[in-house]
Subunit: 240 residues, 2 copies
């Protein structure tokens, strides 16, 4: 499906300094450990863990994508984040996981013992700082999503979502005008706090406005990035 690669950050680092130079910079005792850590393969739709499960591992995504979500007792679901290659899953939270994690596509992860990681972080400020930064990124993302879900219209939300994926591509040296969506409409809906119907209608609206093209339902071509960006930012007068 999606041609996922290893974390581009790590790859770039290795390319620049060679595999040995990595230990020279922050948090890379951890990277070494990660590469040695037990790998795990998850099929699409397979759960990594559920909310409330005992937290024995922290994970880092190597390939694929995982959605992190919370649910209400009656089944309403809010996806709070998508984890892509390089991202950590399960940082911060205490003894138990405070959200569920489910693979969206075939996914490969590295598993790190939570207690061991805690031990390492407690003694190695570099590792601690690295985790701190990762957590800080997740906080930023969560608050950003909060702004999106709380204040933007349906079409703006979808635009913001697509722009985020486009920018992600850019950072990873992938064509930002071609976006592959590994997740279903239901996943997008639960991420943006909409229904699948509204997500679908918003896609149609963007397509009819000439802002995007839909090749298949999971493959988007960005035709007018500037307008998409303005829509996402909430700067565009809404149009039919």
């Amino acid at each position: 499906m999606l041609t996922m690669t290893l974390s581009p950050d790590l790859e770039a680092k290795e390319a620049a300094f060679g595999p040995d130079a990595i230990d020279a910079d922050g948090g890379c005792a951890l990277n070494k450990r990660l590469r040695a850590a037990a790998p795990r393969l998850l099929q699409a739709r397979e759960h990594l863990f559920f909310e409330g499960d005992h937290k024995d591992c922290i994970y880092q995504v190597e390939r694929g994508a995982v959605c992190l979500y919370k649910t209400l007792p009656d089944g309403r679901r809010q996806i709070v984040d998508f984890a892509y290659p390089g991202d950590f899953i399960g940082l911060g939270s205490p003894e138990e996981h405070v959200f569920s994690a489910q693979a969206i596509t075939l996914t490969r992860l590295r598993c790190l013992s939570a207690s061991l990681l805690d031990e390492v972080a407690r003694h190695d400020p570099q590792v601690c700082m690295m985790l701190y930064r990762a957590l800080s990124d997740q906080l930023f993302a969560a608050r950003d999503l909060l702004l999106t879900v709380g204040q933007r219209s349906a079409t703006e939300r979808l635009a913001a979502f697509l722009m985020a994926l486009s920018r992600r591509n850019e950072r990873n040296f992938v064509d930002p005008m071609r976006i592959v969506l590994p997740m279903t409409r239901a996943d997008i809906a639960d991420f943006l706090s909409l229904t699948i119907e509204t997500v679908s209608r918003s896609f149609t609206k963007l397509r009819q406005s000439g802002i995007i093209d839909l090749m298949q339902s999971s493959f988007v071509i960005v035709r007018n990035r500037q307008t998409l960006e303005q829509l996402a930012a909430g700067e565009a007068r809404e149009f039919k």
Copy 2:
């Protein structure tokens, strides 16, 4: 208005071990530093900083309350968190603040040089871990709010908000059945992603159902905590 006290955590610690014992446990080199740090007083509605401002300080609230918010270019505002006594403001984010911070009531804070804090954290794993935990709490809160804003109805959102304040009281050994709201309806609206009118109508609904009483608009008495809790959890059949 609100009879705010110093961080109950710190107070409890001091009460249990005396002021000198504090250094024995995690992150308290920081606590010492904090008590020595420059205090700052903010009037209600006064801004601490704006999104995009250079981040030279991290703050800890001593008294009062601060709202942290993000805005869209056209003025739509999303409050992403309220900071109460003991809470840190400005953790994580990079060189620039990524949200604005405005005092809700008369507020007293301690200011810590961001670079100094960074320096300390880099060498002291205990401090680093303490900040890590604080950040982790904020991430949890943000995702929780995301679930609230994304999936709950207007009345459920308000119920969740009131329950959170009630539980906060409980943790601080304050009567959980009496809730003082230091913020305006507009603040609550921007926090819960509703309009002031809808917030007001939801208060009325809760009052008419006998779940709460409104003494003044900023003083709530919880009459039926169980129902409030069920509503907040999304377990209650919606009622008029």
